[in-house]
Symmetry: C2
Subunit: 378 residues, 2 copies
């Protein structure tokens, strides 16, 4: 999408040197637009763990590029055993960075499978070249798929906004979203925000209530920034405000993303999503989850099986922001008080109106999901 | 309750000069313990509006002391008309500071009624002395009642914690609370936290999940601080976390305060309370509202009639905290993005398990409330 009028993706190869990955270092947004160069898998693991990049699709794409960088590094190995060992280590290193994100393991496994297709030949140098080329092709493929899937999610979700717009006589359609499931969370377009961008680009009046999303403020820092850069009207609210807005009739629909969705339709997403789903149900407001199919975890049914990442207490006890031209952290709690920091919660499928995927919209139940994705019928 | 081992109330008269009110300036907590001296009604209006003092009971007590300061000022008037005019102006000034807090108007009206009982005599000087004495007595009475009512709420609410403790084999009872309805929100003891203090002081194991309560962080700044000072185990969480904790079985009961409760039992409290009530219902966890009867608004039935204060957008776009020995504000949102800041929401009575008042516990319905407070049967 647009940044200062120019089109950007969140991650790409350096055009001058394809052995280097470039990405938007999101830690400095909305205050500074920083592009980071990543040339080792260790750097990529840090970028994922320390959330220079974050969001379901972008984590997957970053892991894909990370495995490509690992293959370049492994190419220095004298034989296949060393090469494979380096890749296995890199895979483990990348997978350990963010335990809840299913796209991470999915992208890493896809790379391992594809790289393994580069069969050993007598000329080890040639074998390695082939494997690295496969890793590069796979990394590009993962990113391109993510982009296309998000574009399709936008087209499928657009109809819900159009339907409401028709009844609103030119008044804006109010969408509430939580966290950042915009293009910054993917390679482009986003999941939850893809229908919003599609509606806006088609000239429909749309306004987004942006949950600030403590403790890391992905809403106020990232969602507000990307909507603003693209020119979409929006208003930042504290995470506690959504229920009140729904009671007042100021929310027409809720669209959120998902870090992991079970085959039965339970949705793990940023902590607090469950509370918004409860409020939507209580006020009879549609609650949609937008996700590319890479965010499904086909191995589990029940959301209670999803591991929930616990992050450091300091994120809750501090707030970081911009002051006098620099990022500063301030303490917002007594030094002696402990804090707990759960990254995600699980919204049970009974609270989800529908899932918006690249293949279309379905109900949040196993039968409906498998009708769209029959290849996962077990 | 205790601060550094010493007993404090939130507001009191300067023992050396009873024409000066002293109060804890809560803006600097938890980082600095600042006592402010207030000697004019204009200063008191600022202290309430700018939230040096906040919380249902403390706003009422502050308004009571504010009207006492107004009476001292008015005593300079040469005749009753001027005196009454000054009091009326002061009343309007105080009432305008925080529109949602019912205790504010309640305390101001009580002062006007009581001061008016000081009938005019031929000696205007004597009349004025009597009126000022009545204002002082009323201010003290409002504060003393608030303290005693909170103490009684603690005794009535204690039984719920005791009941759960009996089944827990020494494991702590987990209470979740939102915002600050502790002693800092009243003259002493608090409403929501009064049962917690009562349980702790009786040696029962109790642990409090403290919602940080954005945008002003009354939870992480005030509730965590006062619990810590009194030695009660607690953990700060982001406002979005409560639902997840309830799903996991880590919350035994929710107790919150109220800024205004209708005669039918609808509860206006800090924005976000409604979301916690929904989650408590969804997980079959008792949801109690603790309030002194001064927080009832006997004039209305339906919560939708309660005016909801909208505060400045800057509170959402910024976070303030402590760094290098001073309070600093940092910007957490794009400069160009608007924000909305709703102070309160209304939790409908159907989500409230019970109201804990100074006279005992009742269901959140008009009949049950009026059984405890028959003087308000209309």
């Amino acid at each position: 999408m647009k940044v200062g009028g120019q089109h950007f993706r969140t991650i790409w190869l350096n055009p001058a040197n394809e052995q280097v990955v470039q990405l938007i270092d999101q830690r400095f947004l909305p205050h500074r637009f920083v592009i980071e160069e990543v040339s080792t898998v260790a750097q990529m693991a840090i970028a994922i763990r320390e959330m220079h990049v974050r969001g379901a699709g972008l984590i997957g794409a970053s892991a894909g590029y990370g495995m490509y960088l690992a293959a370049i590094e492994a190419a220095g190995s004298p034989a296949v055993a060393g090469f494979d060992q380096h890749l296995a280590n890199a895979a483990a290193q990348l997978k350990a960075t963010r335990p809840t994100a299913v796209n991470l393991a999915w992208a890493v496994e896809r790379q391992l499978t594809n790289i393994a297709k580069g069969k050993s030949e007598p000329d080890w140098h040639k074998t390695v070249q082939r494997k690295v080329a496969l890793a590069l092709a796979t990394a590009k493929e993962i990113a391109a798929e993510d982009e296309e899937h998000c574009r399709m999610i936008g087209q499928h979700g657009l109809s819900f906004i159009e339907q409401i717009a028709r009844k609103r006589d030119g008044k804006p359609v109010n969408v509430l979203t939580h966290c950042n499931a915009g293009w910054l969370a993917f390679v482009d377009y986003g999941s939850a925000l893809a229908p919003v961008y599609a509606a806006h680009d088609r000239g429909l009046p749309v306004h987004v209530w942006v949950d600030e999303t403590r403790p890391r403020n992905q809403g106020s820092k990232l969602t507000a920034w990307e909507l603003g850069q693209h020119g979409v009207p929006h208003t930042i609210i504290a995470d506690s405000s959504g229920g009140h807005l729904m009671q007042r009739g100021d929310v027409d629909l809720v669209i959120v993303g998902s870090d992991r969705t079970t085959r039965a339709g339970d949705v793990a997403n940023k902590i607090g999503t469950y509370l918004k789903a409860l409020a939507a149900q209580d006020n009879e407001i549609p609650f949609y989850v937008a996700l590319p199919s890479s965010s499904f975890d086909w191995t589990i049914r029940d959301g209670s099986e999803i591991p929930i990442e616990e992050r450091g207490a300091e994120e809750v006890k501090r707030a970081d922001g911009w002051r006098d031209g620099q990022m500063l952290e301030v303490s917002v709690a007594p030094e002696g008080s402990p804090a707990a920091n759960f990254g995600f919660d699980v919204t049970p499928r009974r609270l989800v109106t529908g899932l918006i995927t690249e293949r279309g919209v379905c109900k949040a139940d196993e039968k409906s999901i498998l009708e769209l994705f029959p290849e996962h019928v077990s």
